[in-house]
C-alpha cells in the first residue's frame, strides 16, 4: 500500500462527509443494545406473565355446598372419634345422599356418575370437621366440598359442552347434574384450602404443597447448617491463615472446579457415596441437604472470601497492635466485619439450593409421599421436585396447581434475593 498524502482541507472534507454515516452506525449499535435489553426484559416478563396467568387460578377451585346431616351413629360408629372408627363410618354415603336429594339421579349408571361429582376427599373432610368440633353431631350443617377435577375443568370452560359426549371426559348426565347444582346456587369459586394445606395426592383437586414445603424447609436447614460453617471456615482459612503453597493452590482449583460441575453430578455422588456406601435411606431431607450443601459450598466460599478480602488491613494491624492473637483478630474483628458479605453469599447460595431439582431426583426425593415429613430422617420431597412431578401428570387441573406452586416458589426466591440485596446495601461498609 502506498502512502498517499492528503491535504488537511481535503481530510476535513472527507471526515465531514462521512460523519453522518458514522453517527448513524453509532446509533445503530445503541439501538441493537436497546433491542437486546428489551428482548431479555420481554422474555422475563413473558415468563412471569405466562406462569402467573396459568397459576393464579390454581389458588382457587370450585366447591359445592351441601346440607350434611351429622348422624353420629353413621359417621362415628364406635363413638370414640378415633381414626379407625371414622374410617369405618359411612360419611361419604351421607354426602352422596345429600347430593342425590338435590340432583335426583335415575338409574345405576347415573348414580355411579353422580357419586364422582364430589371429590373423593369428602369423608376425610367430614372426619376433620367432627374431630375439630364434636358438637356438630346431631345437627344439619352446610358444608363445602371440593368438586372433582374434571368438573372443575368443565366449570372453568376447558371442557366444552358442545363436543360430542364420547370425546369429553364428563358425560351429559354429569353436565345436567352440575347445571342443576348451579341453578340452586350451590356451586362457588373460592380460595382453595387444599393448595396450601394439602399434601401430595393423585387427585388434583386435593393436591397441595404442604408436604413439599416442609420438606424444603428441612432440606434447606440441613444445607444451611452444613454449608454455612464449612464455607466460612474454609474462606477464613484460605484468606487469613493458609500460606500460599501447593496445597492451598490445589484447594482453590478444587473449589473453582466444584463450582463448574453440573448439579446432576452432585446427585450421582450423593447416590453413590451417601446412599450406597454409607447406607443412608433414600428420599430423606438429611441426604438431600448434604448434597445441596456440597453443591452450594463453592458459592458461599467464593463470596465469603471476597467479603474477608474487603476488610482493610488497617483493622487487622490495629488489633495486632494491641496484642490480639491471630485467631482473636479473625474472630473478634475480621469475621464480624465481613459477616454482611458472607450472609449475602449464603442467602444467594440457599436460594440456589431451594430451586435445585436434578440432584434431588438422583437421591430419590421424587417419591410419592403423602405424609408431611416431621424430621430430617422422614422420607419427603421438596417444592421444585413437587413441581416437576405435577408437571408430568396428565390431568388438566395439575397445570394450574403446578403454576400455583411455581408462584409460591418464585415468591420465596424473590424474597430471599431481595433480602440479600437489602443486606448488602444496608450493612456493607465502604472503607
Amino acid at each position: 500500500m502506498s502512502k498517499k498524502f492528503i491535504n488537511p482541507l481535503e481530510a476535513t472534507e472527507i471526515v465531514k462527509n462521512s460523519i453522518k454515516k458514522r453517527r448513524a452506525k453509532d446509533n445503530r449499535l445503541r439501538l441493537y443494545g436497546r433491542i437486546a435489553i428489551g428482548m431479555a426484559t420481554c422474555f422475563l416478563l413473558f415468563l412471569f406473565f405466562s406462569i402467573f396467568t396459568k397459576g393464579y387460578p390454581g389458588f382457587f377451585q370450585y366447591y359445592v355446598t351441601l346440607d350434611i346431616k351429622f348422624d353420629r351413629e353413621r359417621i362415628d360408629p364406635k363413638g370414640d372419634l378415633s381414626d379407625t372408627s371414622l374410617y369405618e363410618g359411612e360419611a361419604s354415603n351421607i354426602v352422596n345422599e345429600s347430593l342425590f336429594s338435590i340432583i335426583n339421579p335415575q338409574g345405576r349408571k347415573a348414580k355411579k356418575e353422580a357419586r364422582k361429582i364430589v371429590s373423593s376427599g369428602k369423608d376425610l373432610r367430614i372426619a376433620k370437621l367432627v374431630k375439630n368440633d364434636p358438637s356438630l353431631f346431631g345437627t344439619v350443617t352446610k358444608v363445602k366440598f371440593a368438586l372433582d377435577d374434571d368438573i372443575d375443568s368443565f366449570l372453568r370452560g376447558y371442557i366444552n359442552r358442545d363436543t360430542p359426549e364420547s370425546e369429553r371426559r364428563i358425560s351429559d348426565n354429569v353436565i345436567a347434574f352440575v347445571d342443576k347444582l348451579s341453578e340452586e346456587n350451590r356451586i362457588s369459586y373460592e380460595f382453595s384450602d387444599y393448595i396450601l394445606k394439602g399434601s401430595a395426592s393423585g387427585n388434583p383437586e386435593m393436591a397441595g404443597i404442604k408436604g413439599a414445603f416442609f420438606g424444603s424447609i428441612l432440606t434447606l436447614s440441613v444445607c444451611l447448617l452444613i454449608a454455612f460453617p464449612l464455607g466460612v471456615a474454609t474462606a477464613v482459612y484460605l484468606e487469613e491463615i493458609a500460606k500460599k503453597n501447593k496445597i492451598t493452590e490445589i484447594i482453590e482449583v478444587n473449589i473453582n472446579n466444584l463450582a463448574a460441575v453440573p448439579s446432576v453430578v452432585f446427585g450421582i455422588m450423593g447416590l453413590a457415596i451417601f446412599i450406597s456406601i454409607f447406607g443412608m435411606p433414600r428420599s430423606i431431607p438429611l441426604v438431600g441437604g448434604m448434597v445441596l450443601a456440597l453443591m452450594t459450598l463453592p458459592t458461599i466460599i467464593i463470596s465469603s472470601r471476597a467479603a474477608i478480602r474487603a476488610v482493610p488491613p488497617s483493622v487487622r494491624d490495629a488489633a495486632y497492635g494491641i496484642g490480639a492473637s491471630k485467631l482473636q483478630v479473625i474472630f473478634h474483628h475480621v469475621i464480624p466485619l465481613a459477616m454482611p458479605g458472607m450472609l449475602t453469599g449464603t442467602i444467594i447460595g440457599m436460594a440456589q439450593a431451594l430451586g435445585e431439582t436434578a440432584p434431588l431426583l438422583m437421591i430419590g426425593m421424587v417419591a410419592f409421599i403423602v405424609d408431611v415429613p416431621n424430621s430430617v430422617m422422614d422420607p419427603g420431597t421438596v417444592l421444585p421436585v413437587q413441581i416437576f412431578m405435577w408437571a408430568d401428570f396428565a390431568e388438566r387441573m395439575f397445570i394450574q396447581k403446578t403454576s400455583a406452586a411455581i408462584i409460591i416458589l418464585l415468591g420465596f426466591l424473590i424474597t430471599m434475593n431481595a433480602f440479600a440485596i437489602y443486606l448488602r446495601k444496608k450493612l456493607e461498609r465502604r472503607w
Binding site: 452506525k25 473449589i255 466444584l258 447416590l271 431426583l361
Partner: protein, 462 residues
C-alpha cells in the same frame, strides 16, 4: 431420633465441662491474683473441645462403620442353597434384608430373609447401646482430662487456637474430599461399565438403545439388543446448546455492550439486576415453561407454516435454555468490558473516533478473550443443564441436526436411567455413570480453558 438425643446429650455434657472449666479458671484467677496465662473462658473452651471432639469422632466413625460390619457379618447367615444359586448376587440379598429391616415387605419374603432381618435388628440395638455408652464415656473421660489440665501454667489459649486452626484447615479440605468423592463415585462404576461394553463402542457408536437386561432375557432370549453408542446423546446435547447460544450470545453480548458503554448509571442500576433475575429462576420453572408454553406455541406456528414440529422439539428446549444463560454471558462480558482500561477508550476518542468505532475496534478486541471465556462458561452451563431437557427435550435418541425433531441429551438420559427402580450391576444402570464421567470431563475441560483465557488476559493489564 435415638441419634438426635445422643448428640444432644453429648453436647450438653460438653457444655457442662465448659462451665466447670470456666469456674475453675475464675477460681484460679483469684488465687493467683490475675496471674493466669489465658482469659478464663479459654480454659472453659478447652474443656468443651476436649469433651466434644473425641466423642463426636467416635460417634461418626461408628455410625458409618456399623453398616459395613453388619453386611459383612450377615454373609455367613445366608443359607448355602441361596449363595450357590446361579444368579446369586450378594447386593440383592442385602437389599432384600435391608428392606425387611425397614419394614418394606412386598409379598412374603423367604424365611432366611426375615430371620436375617431379625438378627440385623438385634445387632442394631446392641450397636446403639455400644455406641451410646462409648460416646458418653469418652465425652466424660476426655472432658475430665481436659478439666484436670487446668492450672496456672497451662497455656489454654494457645491450645484452643491450635485446635481451631486444625478444624479450619480440615474444613477447607472438604473441597478436596468432595472432588475425590465425585471422581470415585463416577470412575469406579464407569470402569465396570467399560468392562461390559467396549469403550470405543460407547464413544463412537451411533445408536443409543439401552434395555434392562431382565427385559432382554424375558424377550427373545437374544443377547446384545442393547446398544450403547453415545454419539446421538452428545449430538443432541450440542444441538440444544447451539440453539441456546444462538439466542443468548447476541442478546447477552449486545446487552453487555449497551450496559457498559451506552447506558446511563440509572439504566444500568435497573437493568443489570433485572437480567440477573433470569439466572435466579429455578431450572424446573424454565422446564415447565418450555414444555407447556413454548413447545405448543412452536408446534402450532409450525403447523401453520406447514412444518412438522415434534411436540418435544430440540428448538423449544434450546430457546428456553438460551433465555436461561443470557445473564451468564451478559454479566461476565459486562465485567470484562468494564475491565478494559479507560485510557484505551480515551485514546480512541482522542483520535476522533465515534463510540461505535471505539467499542468495536478497540474495546471489544481488547475484551475478546474474556468474552470468549464467558461464552465457553455458558456452553458448559448449557451442557450440564438437566431439568429443561428432561422436561422439554424428550427421550428419543435421534441422531439429527434438525432442530424441529425430538432429541435427547446426556443429562436427561442420566436422570431417566437413575430415577426409579434400577437393576444392580446392569449395563444400563452403569451406563449413566459412564455418561456422567464424560459429562464431567467435558465441562471441566471447558471450565479450565475458560479460566486459563481469563487469567492470561488479566495479566496483560495488571
Amino acid at each position: 431420633m435415638f441419634n438426635f438425643y445422643l448428640l444432644v446429650v453429648i453436647l450438653l455434657i460438653s457444655f457442662l465441662f465448659f462451665f466447670m472449666g470456666l469456674k475453675e479458671a475464675k477460681k484460679l484467677r483469684l488465687v493467683y491474683k490475675n496471674n493466669l496465662h489465658s482469659l478464663p473462658h479459654y480454659y472453659g473452651f478447652y474443656a468443651l473441645l476436649a469433651s466434644l471432639l473425641p466423642s463426636l469422632g467416635i460417634y461418626f466413625l461408628m455410625t458409618i462403620g456399623d453398616d459395613f460390619l453388619f453386611s459383612h457379618m450377615i454373609k455367613s447367615y445366608i443359607p448355602d442353597e441361596v449363595t450357590n444359586a446361579k444368579d446369586y448376587n450378594f447386593l440383592i440379598a442385602l437389599a432384600q434384608i435391608n428392606n425387611s429391616v425397614e419394614g418394606l415387605i412386598f409379598g412374603t419374603p423367604p424365611k432366611w430373609v426375615t430371620d436375617a432381618a431379625e438378627l440385623w435388628k438385634s445387632w442394631v440395638q446392641t450397636s446403639n447401646i455400644i455406641v451410646a455408652s462409648l460416646c458418653l464415656l469418652t465425652s466424660i473421660a476426655s472432658g475430665y482430662y481436659g478439666f484436670l489440665k487446668i492450672n496456672q501454667n497451662f497455656r489454654s489459649r494457645n491450645a484452643v487456637e491450635k485446635i481451631i486452626m486444625t478444624l479450619l484447615a480440615a474444613s477447607s479440605a472438604i473441597a478436596i474430599f468432595t472432588t475425590i468423592a465425585i471422581i470415585f463415585s463416577v470412575v469406579f462404576e464407569s470402569v465396570r461399565f467399560f468392562a461390559l461394553i467396549p469403550i470405543d463402542e460407547f464413544l463412537f457408536g451411533t445408536v443409543w438403545n439401552p434395555q434392562f437386561e431382565g427385559a432382554e432375557r424375558a424377550g427373545s432370549g437374544q443377547q446384545g439388543l442393547s446398544q450403547y453408542g453415545s454419539i446421538p446423546l452428545f449430538a443432541g446435547t450440542f444441538l440444544i446448546s447451539f440453539i441456546a447460544l444462538c439466542v443468548s450470545v447476541p442478546v447477552g453480548l449486545f446487552s453487555a455492550i449497551y450496559l457498559s458503554e451506552y447506558a446511563s448509571s440509572k439504566e444500568r442500576a435497573f437493568f443489570k439486576p433485572l437480567l440477573e433475575i433470569l439466572a435466579g429462576v429455578p431450572t424446573v420453572v424454565y422446564g415447565f415453561f418450555a414444555a407447556l408454553t413454548v413447545a405448543p406455541f412452536l408446534r402450532t406456528t409450525g403447523s401453520m407454516l406447514g412444518l412438522d414440529v415434534a411436540s418435544e422439539s430440540a428448538l423449544a428446549a434450546g430457546l428456553v435454555m438460551g433465555i436461561m444463560i443470557i445473564p451468564f454471558i451478559s454479566s461476565l462480558s459486562d465485567d470484562v468490558i468494564n475491565a478494559v482500561p479507560q485510557s484505551l477508550r480515551d485514546a480512541g476518542y482522542g483520535l476522533g473516533s465515534t463510540k461505535n468505532e471505539t467499542v468495536l475496534k478497540i474495546v471489544l478486541p481488547a475484551a475478546l478473550p474474556g468474552v470468549v471465556a464467558s461464552i465457553i462458561l455458558a456452553v458448559s452451563r448449557a451442557v450440564g443443564e438437566t431439568m429443561i431437557v428432561v422436561m422439554a427435550a424428550g427421550l428419543a435418541a435421534n441422531l439429527t441436526a434438525n432442530p424441529l425433531e425430538a432429541v435427547t441429551t446426556v443429562t436427561s438420559q442420566i436422570v431417566t436411567i437413575l430415577v426409579g427402580d434400577q437393576e444392580f450391576e446392569s449395563a444400563k444402570t452403569l451406563s449413566a455413570f459412564a455418561l456422567a464421567l464424560t459429562l464431567i470431563i467435558i465441562t471441566l475441560c471447558m471450565n479450565f480453558y475458560a479460566l486459563h483465557i481469563v487469567k492470561k488476559y488479566r495479566e496483560q493489564y495488571e
